[in-house]
Amino acid sequence: MKVSPFPAAAEHELANVQLRRNLRAATDTIQSKRARVVAELPDWEALRDAGSEIKADVLARLDELLVEFETAATAAGAHVHWARDGAEAGAIVARIAREHDVDEVVKVKSLTTDEIQLNDVLATAGVRAIETDFAELILQLDGDWSSHILVPAIHRNRTEIRDLFARTIAPGIVSDDPADLAEASRVYLRERFLRAKMGVSGANFGIAETGTVCVVESEGNGRMCTTLPPVLVSILGIEKLLPRFDDLEVFLQLLPRSSTGERMNPYTSLWTGVTSGDGPQELHIVLLDNGRTRVLRDEVGRQALHCIRCSACLNVCPVYTRTGGHAYGSVYPGPIGAILTPQLIGIENASSLPYASTLCGACYEVCPVKIDIPRVLLHLRAEAVRARGRSAERLTMRIVGWTFESARRFTLAQRVARTAQTPFARGGLVRRLPPPLSGWTRSRDLRAVAKTSFRSWWAGR
């Protein structure tokens, strides 16, 4: 897999006015909801510390915890499989479907299954995967793909959704009231839930101590997929483990508040093997590597594996909120995508992603597991430069570093820039810089260097 370069994709997406408008409204709303429910907790920082330290412990003992998880889950009646990569995981799911003579599975939204393109793998094996999250259903019906971790169809408005439903699952629907649209999907999917022979899910957490799998969701489709079909397959990235059941007391506070800005999401399901007379009687868990051990090898970059996919870093990111998720050209968008994707698939295949950031640090501030995204970005930029061996870029970065190091040099540089930018600045923005800097402004408007710097304004006050 190779992703299209961020600048080219971003230029295209920046032109999409609808996308930008929806995205801005959505990310602003979630951001302020998050801030409100986080402020309610007097011990938020202590929870973040605990979350980050528990995840560090998981990575330090990953091999041991995976075996512990496997033992506990097996003892509880689950079948545990291991997959080195996406193809292997896909083949396992397809084989289970074939063994049960299943040609249709219901599926809960999962970035992990998107990452391994499970739906395509299943389609090749003659199995149709029905996406059951409201937003995923929209994308599937439209042949589109996700632009946000949590609200994947954030770039579609109600009228567009109504028109899509009228063409596909609800001929004749005229209302674009969200309640009516939700009802249309309820009716369409209910029938499929009730007849499903096999469910497929990702997982938010796996508990090593007990072999428990945990899915956090809002709509109830997760509960449908993980309790109604007689056979359930859950794909668990190996980094999703938590050592002990009680660790949930940390993560079930961090995740909902960070992701949807709720004190708690409507539904959290936890199952431990098979329960007689309740839920699937055949349970499979696929432990997936697919590049995660590669990430683990990098001492600085491995903290990306702490990620609990809450999407808080997307909503605060000045780059993401303007370009949207498609510009990143990868399953994982936004700041986390910029550090995770290049590490998962190799920096040489996504070398522009670590540059899709202004290094403003807002992502680190909100990250519930304290991933130092700016630090990892800088580290990966150095890697990318090394991989390309392009000395001009390295030289530029070195000059930038040298300039920022000294206050005097920085002041001087500002003065030079103020003069040099004059031919390019319009209304306070620099839209196009001449080569060799044109690459920087192709999909960004650069704020012009102010006539008076903050420091000189402050000094002369």
């Binding site: 709303t29 979630i30 202590a46 929870l47 605990a50 330290e53 528990i54 560090a56 330090a60 003992r61 990953l62 091999d63 075996v67 509880a76 291991w82 997959a83 080195r84 409201f134 609200v151 109600r158 969200p178 649209l181 939700a182 309820r186 839930f193 009730l194 101590e209 007990t210 428990t212 709509e219 109830g220 509960r223 449908m224 309790t227 109604l228 059941f245 009680d246 007391e249 940390v250 079930l252 506070q253 709720e262 004190r263 708690m264 999401n265 409507p266 539904y267 959290t268 399901s269 936890l270 199952w271 431990t272 093997g273 329960t275 007379g277 309740d278 839920g279 590597d289 683990l296 090898r297």
Partner: protein, 208 residues
């Protein structure tokens, strides 16, 4: 070629890693509110996420349920096989869920259950598949879920709740469902819509 399990474990084992220090746990693990305040907080928070909340004396649970069912026009209602008799409402048809298949559950107007624990700070009820709660599908497929919460089941903080649930999972592997308000989506321009696939209405009867 080695098998995937051996190879993944070997890949990890080959990576030098420092042991991590014991994680700090300086967050709150027990609440400071009085019992009355905890019940009050639970009711407010559950209502905040659009659950319908009523508070009654322990002796008046069945009557409260009758009123809720009537308000929703629910006639045929599923219950777990062990739902205590004093909670069983009069005047409607009660069906033991263990006798129903999924299609049968789909024809019910609602479900009545107890719960295992409730968390005030997040407005959450937790079900663990006891005979009083029935199997997971009972509170998922019908459109109305009426849940009875006894005041002594309410804890203030999530860690208090999780620590009560741990033993059920460790010793019996009980499946858990944490419910905070009715099913919802915010996928259409971030407008919250109640009731996508789970019950569209959640009524909580707080007893005692």
């Amino acid at each position: 070629m080695s098998d995937a399990r051996t190879e993944v474990l070997a890949r990890i084992a080959a990576i030098p890693r420092e042991p991590a220090p014991e994680p700090s746990r300086d967050y709150r693990v027990s609440g400071e509110r009085s019992a009355d305040e905890v019940v009050e907080l639970f009711c407010t928070r559950a209502a905040d996420y659009r659950a319908e909340v009523v508070r009654v004396d322990a002796a008046a649970v069945a009557t409260a349920i009758v009123r809720i069912l009537a308000a929703h026009g629910a006639q045929r209602v599923g219950i777990g096989p062990g739902l205590r008799s004093e909670w069983r409402p009069a005047g409607c048809e009660l069906v033991d869920e263990s006798a129903l298949d999924v299609a049968g559950l789909d024809r019910l107007d609602g479900a009545i259950t107890g719960c295992t624990v409730a968390v005030a700070e997040t407005g959450t009820i937790v079900l663990s598949g006891s005979p009083e709660e029935g199997r997971r599908a009972l509170t998922l497929v019908p459109d109305l879920h009426v849940c009875v919460v006894m005041r002594e089941q309410i804890v203030e903080l999530l860690p208090e709740g999780i620590r009560l649930l741990g033993p059920l999972v460790r010793s019996e592997g009980r499946p858990l469902t944490l419910i905070s308000g009715p099913s919802a989506t915010s996928d259409i321009e971030l407008d919250r819509v109640e009731g996508v696939h789970g019950p569209r209405r959640l009524a909580v009867v707080v007893a005692g």
